[in-house]
Symmetry: C2
Subunit: 308 residues, 2 copies
């Protein structure tokens, strides 16, 4: 699956991911009203609004982007109907040949991690039959429980040729509280980065491993250090745009080959029509605004990479 | 909710939690067959088998126990039908006056943690209406992202009088890989434990905080140290029984008042009929075997506490 991600990135010349993290407040009122008219102001109504919103954004951007990253929390907050919208979104994006990164940040003791891996990137057996319940291409994983919490995910990746992005250094302001603590003179995130490189060794695609890392755009210096610690790991970089990261901050996340990183933007793309820069599109054409924002983001990163 | 947990513990004189973590292999064949006859060998069939299995165990044990802890991964692995069985289980246990600890181990950046908190222990707004999607009483939370990933959960606990158990030292063999790393001469888990105590200060019930911690039964010495670091935090102790923890290992997790800890057993209770000790019950009476295992576990812990 890492090979497919890289091939999609080369095809679009855009190392970017659109974060499909819909809040109801991002969804234009006309679209909410339509969903509520059909399903009422219910969880089902919210789920329908989310699904229609996602579909329009995917339709308007899928030829320009290699991958999407739906954040499952934004669906889970609407209970089972929300999770149905998550599943519909995953399936629809795959039908458009997009790589789907399920941002699920799961992680537990061995047997429990195995169940998460099975449900999201693997196959579950029921009697004599097998099913692929959520069927994302990649998932994000929390490493706090150590190797035996991560290995079941790695095993499923090997079997299914799927991939992981493991949290190393997250983009949020207080990520340093534990992740930056010095362990033998080095920050904990470097230790986690080394483990990511190790876990990835037995799961190599053509040039990069199936096992990647999450490192926030908001910490470019750490991105630079971690790039060296994990030379064969793809880095998923959240925090571009709304969280404050800029193209110029991102060059050190990439290798010299122009590969090795993929940058996520969520709100900056999916709620672009709410920004002054794109308000000319109007709420009715929010998908066009997202398309324009994708073009601008890809150009920003291309320029930064060309200028380094 | 911490007050209710403590009152349930006093009522049953059993500081224990039954982990409702059903694997299909734990479910007696006759029960699987019945579910598959109705729904086929499908995700729906698996979900029905899980739900019927849980219901029988809850019916046979609910008068003896204060709380249950369904592990959501075991349901999530069966996709949406599995999550429906999770929700049915939560609702059913609440109808039996049990405290429900959703073992979800979520945790993300602020806005995303807020969505998880809303979905699992809070209320979500849809237009002019409000819903409580999963509606557990407590959830488990992963702290790797730091305070701004935990605070949204704490805020919802304050609003809804619900509770958390935050991962401090997990029960699995490789938990030490990151959690035991020395930071300024002290292990990272102690630093996390101190934070748990701080997060809990603004969320006090009558004697204990709404904000508790997870510390594995498999590390009794660390439980002893952490008990002092977090005197007002309830400790959820996984790892009893099948993972190797014994009653005598557990006394240091409790305060002098005999409170302060609640010990989880999953496989040891729900699959008791598969153990030699309880095989006399037979697969048809697996619920009775679970009841007997609950009695034995409660007695083991009571004796250990009495003998300290």
């Amino acid at each position: 699956m890492i090979n497919k991600l890289i091939s999609n990135i080369k095809k679009t010349d855009a190392p970017i991911v659109v974060g499909l993290d819909p809040m109801l407040s991002y969804i234009p009122e006309f679209m909410q009203k339509k969903a509520f008219a059909e399903y009422g102001e219910t969880l089902e109504g919210a789920a329908e609004a989310i699904w229609q919103f996602n579909k329009e954004i995917v339709d308007k951007t899928c030829d320009l982007i290699p991958a999407v990253k739906p954040q499952i929390a934004m669906y889970e907050q609407f209970g089972l109907p929300g999770l149905m919208a998550f599943k519909k979104t995953v399936d629809y994006c795959k039908s458009k040949d997009l790589v789907v990164i399920g941002d699920i940040k799961r992680g537990d003791i061995g047997s429990t991690s195995a169940a998460y891996a099975t449900g999201h990137i693997g196959r579950v057996k029921v009697g004599g039959k097998e099913y692929t319940p959520f069927d994302e291409d990649f998932v994000t994983v929390n490493p706090y429980l150590g190797s035996d919490g991560v290995n079941p995910f790695v095993k499923v990746c090997q079997e299914e040729k799927k991939g992981l992005f493991i949290l190393v250094k997250t983009s949020n302001p207080s990520s340093g509280e534990f992740q930056d603590q010095l362990v033998g003179g080095r920050p904990l995130y470097e230790l986690v980065g080394e483990k990511v490189a190790q876990w990835g060794e037995d799961c190599m695609g053509d040039g990069y491993s199936y096992i990647g890392a999450v490192v926030g755009a908001t910490y470019p210096e750490m991105g630079k250090a971690l790039r060296k610690v994990m030379p064969k790991s793809y880095i998923l970089v959240p925090g571009y745009g709304a969280q404050g990261g800029k193209g110029a901050d991102l060059v050190h996340f990439f290798n010299e080959d122009g590969l090795g990183a993929v940058v996520n933007s969520s709100r900056g793309i999916i709620a672009a029509y709410k920004q002054e820069k794109y308000e000319r599109f109007g709420a009715e054409n929010f998908g066009e605004a997202s398309r324009e924002a994708v073009k601008d983001m890809a150009a920003d990163i291309r320029e930064a990479l060309a200028g380094r």
